[in-house]
């Protein structure tokens, strides 16, 4: 059984159709990247999964149970990290997790154990200050800790890394990878490198519709690999290769692309580079990447 199933869901705000007939399935125990531009409808979809927004049409099921707007019972399976997590500033991280444990009626001994374990996981175990003094990254980490407290079957993270610096982003992504052993992770983002790095499966949302969903290999199989990219040692080498091969296209100061070259043609190009002693750093076969598809889809 799929952990999450979205069937033909539509949502309109005023005269703007935000979600159009969206369907999606998330299998258990994977990291599912929900990709889309800002305003594509990612947050709206996540809020509908949590029963925080009503749907106009369609059905959402979590663990086989139907999601309802308002008092939504399937939330007992979910942990949620909002895009801008806000907590009670007058509490410290430990007090907040104790409060979360109490409202979910967790046994005190278990609550203490899990709080300690999660605070260690997110690196807040020695933090004694109140949440009011926390940075954005610290709030994000506390957000993951509170979302994982009740061992949810589905962890929903809305743009968990978008406002963080590179160090903060890496920390959050590492935590999500660790969490995968315990739960299914659905995370939305517009940062393609984050999705590429940690997710097993991807759904690309554009114009309120899912334009691609599947695993990363499916994505690469969509179009055959063709062409090569060469990174050269210096600008003289770039000039030399452009002089030698008229089909080469300059990408930037040190990179050149052979857009339509087959593997056999590439062997000949490499041989000519060796013969002419043109220094190069890297030769890479082009692949149909998430970025290529994203750009293709959004029409850039």
């Amino acid at each position: 059984m799929n952990m999450l199933e979205i069937e033909n869901v539509s949502k309109r705000f005023g005269d703007k159709q935000v979600i159009k007939d969206l369907s999606l399935s998330v299998p258990p125990n994977c990291i599912y990247g929900f990709v889309g531009q800002n305003g594509a409808g990612k947050t709206t979809t996540m809020k509908m999964i949590l029963g925080l927004l009503p749907m106009d049409h369609g059905e959402i099921r979590v663990q086989g149970e139907k999601v309802t707007y308002g008092q939504n019972l399937t939330n007992r399976y979910c942990g949620y990290l909002p895009d801008v997590p806000e907590f009670y500033n007058y509490m410290n991280a430990r007090e907040y997790l104790r409060f979360c444990a109490e409202i979910t009626e967790m046994q005190p001994a278990e609550a203490k154990l899990r709080s300690a374990m999660l605070l260690e996981l997110v690196g807040l175990n020695t933090e004694k200050h109140r949440i009011g003094g926390f940075s954005r990254g610290m709030k994000q980490r506390l957000g993951i800790a509170q979302a994982l407290l009740n061992q949810p079957k589905l962890l929903i993270c809305d743009e968990p890394t978008s406002a963080l610096d590179p160090v903060g982003r890496k920390e959050i992504l590492d935590i999500l990878v660790t969490a995968k052993s315990q739960t299914t992770v659905l995370f939305s983002t517009h940062i393609l490198s984050d999705v590429d790095r940690i997710s097993d499966r991807i759904a690309l949302l554009h114009g309120g519709r899912v334009v691609f969903s599947g695993d990363k290999d499916d994505l690469r199989r969509r179009k055959p690999a063709i062409g090569f990219e060469v990174e050269l040692e210096n600008s003289n080498a770039v000039d030399a290769i452009l002089h030698l091969h008229s089909d080469a296209k300059r990408l930037d100061a040190l990179r050149v692309l052979f857009e339509t070259a087959t593997e056999a043609q590439m062997h000949a190009i490499i041989y000519s580079m060796i013969q002419e002693k043109i220094p190069f750093r890297r030769i890479e076969k082009s692949e149909y990447s998430l970025e290529s598809m994203f750009m293709e889809v959004v029409g850039k």
Binding site: L50, L52, N75, Y80, E86, Y90, I103, T104, N150
Partner: protein, 256 residues
Amino acid sequence: MKSLIAFSKKEATEWWRSGRFAILMVVFTLFGIMNPAFAKLTPWLMDSMSESLENSGIILGEIRVDAFTSWEQFYKNIPIAMIVFVLMISGLFATEFQKGTLIPVLTKGLARWKVYVAKTFGILLVWTVGYWTCFGITYVYNDIYWDNSVVAHPIAAAGLVYLFGLWLTAMVPLFSSFLNNAISVAMGTGSIVIASYALGIFPNIKSYVPTYLLSAQALLVRAGDPEDYLLVIVVTSILVVVSFVLGWVIFDRRRL
């Protein structure tokens, strides 16, 4: 039930650590002290002003103050305390909506009605403690300096004003259930009070509208009996319950 207690504990912590409870208790205590203090200081104030008043041709007779003077101050001051109270509590729900602090709590499966009940109960409890503290301080000082027996029905009269305050504070959760900011909630509550005053102008319905409860001071001088207020007590009690239930239903369906 455990989760309701847990959220109520969080509310108590918030009242305490935000300083809101302390500020309100200081306000109610100060008003409680000011009533007898003003009565006690009135002869001295008049005496010090008598010379300049005499020059203006106004001759002051003997100024007599008693417990009634102090109770008069109580009924003049308590509406100001009510306004302060409403302003202080109007952001109790709105701040949570604006910051999004309820989202992690509700997505953990906490029933919305528990949030509504815990917050409303907190407001009513603080109103009860604050109001009767103010009343108690005035009552004790009046007994020490003068004699409370000169006024009739002091507790019944205070009880009627307390009920008016309950009605006022029950409207804050109601307006909070569909409005998004503290100013709108305070203005919504204020406009209902103004509407009640406006309806009170018509003699036929005057004694049914909640603002009629504020005339309870008349009981002190035996200008009426507590039984005269029975209808407005029933109407106001119904309005308190209706506000509470309506707010509950709307809050259950509100978009977060």
